[in-house]
Amino acid sequence: MSALDNTRELFRRDQVWPFLAPAQSRVNVDNQMILYVEDLNLSFDGFKALNNLNLYINDGELRCLIGANGAGKTTLMDVITGKTQCDSGTVYFGQNHNLLNKDEAEIAQLGIGRKFQKPTVFEEQTVFDNLELSLKTDKRVLPTLFSRLTPTQIDRIDEVLKTIGLAEHRFMLAGALSHGQKQWLEIGMLLAADPRLLLIDEPVAGMTAQETERTAELLTSLAGERTVIVVEHDMEFVRSIARTVTVLHQGSVLAEGTMDQIQSNKDVIEVYLGEEAVGEKGAEQGKGERA
C-alpha cells in the first residue's frame, strides 16, 4: 500500500478513531442475544480443546452446559472471561463488546461474573469484606482508596447476606467457612457484583441435597433479569433447573435443546449419557483428557 492509501485509510470518513469513539458501556442486546461465540478454536499442544465452537445465548436465559471431561466447558469459560487467549474465532458480549481484546478486569467490569469450580474466596478477610470487594463500584485505584460504604451499599450487602444464608457469619473469616458455605459466599459475591451474565462452574459440587435444592431455586430466580450459564455434572440438578441444555463434545457443540430432547438425541446417548446406557466405556474415554 502506498503512503497515500495509508493516509486515506487513516482518515476514512466513515470511521472514528478508536480513542475518539465514545466509550460504550451499555451492552447492546437489541437482538435479544447477550453472548455470541463464533468459530472458536483453541488447542493446547495439539489437543483441540475448542473446535469450531458456536454458541449463542439469549438475554435472560438460564443455559446449562454439559459434557464429558475434556469437552471444553471450563476452557470456554476461560476464553469468555479473558483468562485464556483463543487461537481464532470471535466472542461478543451484546452486539458491541468484543471480549477477545479485553483483559479479565475489563470483562468483569462489563458485567460478566464468574464462579469457579473450586470455591475461591478471600480467606483472610471477613465474609462482609468479601462481599464489599465484589460490589459493583468504580474499581480504579484512586476511587477505591477514597471509597466509603454508602448506606445503599450496606443494605445491598445485608440483602445478599440474607439470600446466601450467611447473615450470622458476616464478621467471620471466609477461610473458616465450610465448603458449602464458601460455595454460597462465592455465589453471593456474584450477586453483589450485579452482573448481566453469570458463568457458574459446578455450583453444587460438595453441597448437601438441601443446599443443592436451595441453589437450584436461587439460580432459577436469577434468570430473567440476568443471564446465567451453568456448567454442571449432576444431571439431577441440571434437570431441575434447565430449560435449554447445550451438550459439548470434544470442543464443539453436539446438541442443543430441552432436557428431554437431549436425552432422546442419538449422538448424545452415544457419547455422553451413554455412560448410563452403554456402560463404563464413555466414562473411561473421558477420563484421560483434561477438563
Binding site: D103, E104, A105, F116, Q125, E132, L133, S147
Partner: protein, 377 residues
C-alpha cells in the same frame, strides 16, 4: 480538606495499635531528647548524643522496614531490592549536603565537591544542578525512588511477573545500581560515596541540637507515615491489596486491575524507603554504594520476618530489635553477626512464621479464651 479529615477519622477504629504506638514512639523520643539536653553528663539517666544518633538510625531502619512490610506483608511481593530505593533517597540528601560544604572542602573549590576536583572535573555534572536547594533535593529524594519503582513496577507487574522471578529481578536491580554507583565516572563519588558533610540548612551536623532535631523529625515522620499507611491499608484499597496477596486472579475476575494496584503500592513503598534514606544520611554522615548491596536488602526482609509481616507494628519492632541486637553483637563478636542473622531467619521461619507479633497474638489468645474463640471464628 474536610473530606480528608473524614477519611482519616474513619480509619481510626481499624488500627487499634496506632494510637499507643504513636504515643509511645513520640514519648520515648521526647524523653530521650530531654535526658540528653537537660541532664548532666554524669547522671544515671543521661542519654549520650551517640545513643541519640543511634536511635535516630534505628528509626530510619524502622521506616524502611515499614516500606518492605507494606509491599511484602500486605501485597505478597517479596522485594529483595528495597535497599536501592533507600540508597537513592540517601544519595539525594547526600548531594545536597555535599553542595552545602561549599569552599570548606579539602580542595576549597566553591562549586565542585572534593571528589570531582580530585578527578580533575571542570564543571558540575547536570544532575548535580539544583541540588544545593534543600526543597529540590528533598523532592528528588522521593521522586527518584518513586519514578524508578514506577517504571520497574509498571514493566514487571504488567507482564505479570511474580514470585521468585520478581524477587530475583529486584535483587538484580539493586546489584546493578551498586555496580553503577561504584564507578567514578557516574559522578556520585564512586567507591567512597559522599561524606565529610558540614551542615544542613545552616545547622552544624556535629552539634547536639541538630542531632536531636534530626532524631525528633525522624520519629515524627515515622509516626505520620505509620498513620497514613495504616489508613491506606484499612481502606478498600488495602482490602484489594490483601486479595492480591491471597488470590490475585480471583481479584482480577471481580474487576480490579491488580497490576495498577501493585504498581502504586510499590511506588508508595519506594517513596517511604527514599524518605528513610534521606533521613538516614545526615545522621550517619556518609552514603556510599555499599547501601545498594543485596545483603542489605535481604537484611531488611529479615527485620520484617522477625517482627511479623503483615502487621505494620511488627515491622517496626523487628527493625528495632534486630538492629539493637546487631549493635550489641557486632561489638562483642563482629565476625559472627551474619551467622546470627542467618540463624535468626531460619529459626523465625521454622518456629515463628508470623514473627514476634504472631507470638503476641498466640499469647493473647491463650490467656483470654473468650477472645480467642472470636478471633479464630
Amino acid at each position: 480538606m474536610s473530606r480528608l479529615t473524614a477519611w482519616f477519622s474513619e480509619g481510626r477504629s481499624s488500627g487499634k495499635h496506632t494510637l499507643p504506638f504513636v504515643v509511645i514512639l513520640l514519648g520515648v523520643t521526647l524523653l530521650a531528647s530531654a535526658a540528653n539536653l537537660f541532664l548532666p553528663a554524669d547522671s544515671a539517666l543521661y542519654v549520650s548524643t551517640y545513643t541519640i544518633t543511634l536511635l535516630g538510625k534505628y528509626l530510619c531502619y524502622a521506616m524502611l522496614a515499614l516500606a518492605v512490610d507494606i509491599i511484602w506483608g500486605y501485597c505478597g511481593i517479596l522485594s529483595l531490592g528495597h535497599g536501592a530505593f533507600f540508597a537513592l533517597g540517601g544519595y539525594a540528601m547526600g548531594m545536597y549536603l555535599m553542595r552545602q560544604i561549599g569552599d570548606r572542602g579539602v580542595y576549597g573549590d566553591p562549586l565542585l565537591p572534593d571528589f570531582m576536583v580530585f578527578l580533575d572535573w571542570k564543571e558540575l555534572p547536570w544532575f548535580w544542578l539544583g541540588m544545593d536547594q534543600f526543597w529540590f533535593a528533598m523532592l528528588m529524594a522521593v521522586a527518584v525512588p518513586g519514578l524508578l519503582a514506577f517504571v520497574f513496577g509498571w514493566l514487571a507487574f504488567r507482564s505479570r511477573v511474580t514470585g521468585v522471578y520478581l524477587s530475583i529481578m529486584t535483587q538484580a536491580l539493586t546489584y546493578a545500581l551498586l555496580l553503577a554507583f561504584f564507578r567514578n565516572e557516574m559522578g556520585f563519588g564512586g567507591n567512597n560515596g559522599l561524606t565529610d558533610f558540614k551542615e544542613i540548612l545552616g545547622f552544624s551536623l556535629q552539634s547536639d541540637s541538630t542531632r536531636i532535631s534530626l532524631f525528633i523529625i525522624t520519629a515524627l515522620l515515622l509516626s505520620v507515615i505509620f498513620v497514613i499507611s495504616q489508613r491506606i491499608l484499612s481502606s478498600r484499597f488495602g482490602k484489594v491489596v490483601l486479595t492480591i496477596r491471597d488470590a490475585e486472579s480471583r481479584s482480577r475476575f471481580i474487576g480490579y486491575r491488580t497490576d495498577r494496584y501493585k504498581v502504586w503500592l510499590f511506588v508508595y513503598s519506594a517513596v517511604i524507603a527514599g524518605i528513610a534514606g534521606a533521613l538516614y544520611v545526615p545522621q550517619v554522615g556518609i552514603i556510599n554504594p555499599g547501601e545498594f548491596s543485596p545483603v542489605n536488602s535481604i537484611e531488611m526482609v529479615i527485620w520484617v520476618a522477625v517482627g511479623g509481616r503483615g502487621t505494620l507494628i511488627g515491622a517496626v519492632i523487628g527493625a528495632l530489635l534486630v538492629n539493637y541486637a546487631k549493635t550489641r553483637f557486632t561489638a562483642i563478636m563482629p565476625d559472627a553477626w551474619l551467622f546470627a542473622l542467618g540463624a535468626m531467619f531460619v529459626l523465625v521461619t521454622l518456629y515463628l512464621p508470623k514473627g514476634l507479633m504472631g507470638v503476641y497474638g498466640q499469647l493473647k489468645a491463650k490467656y483470654r479464651p473468650t477472645n480467642a474463640k472470636e478471633s479464630q471464628v
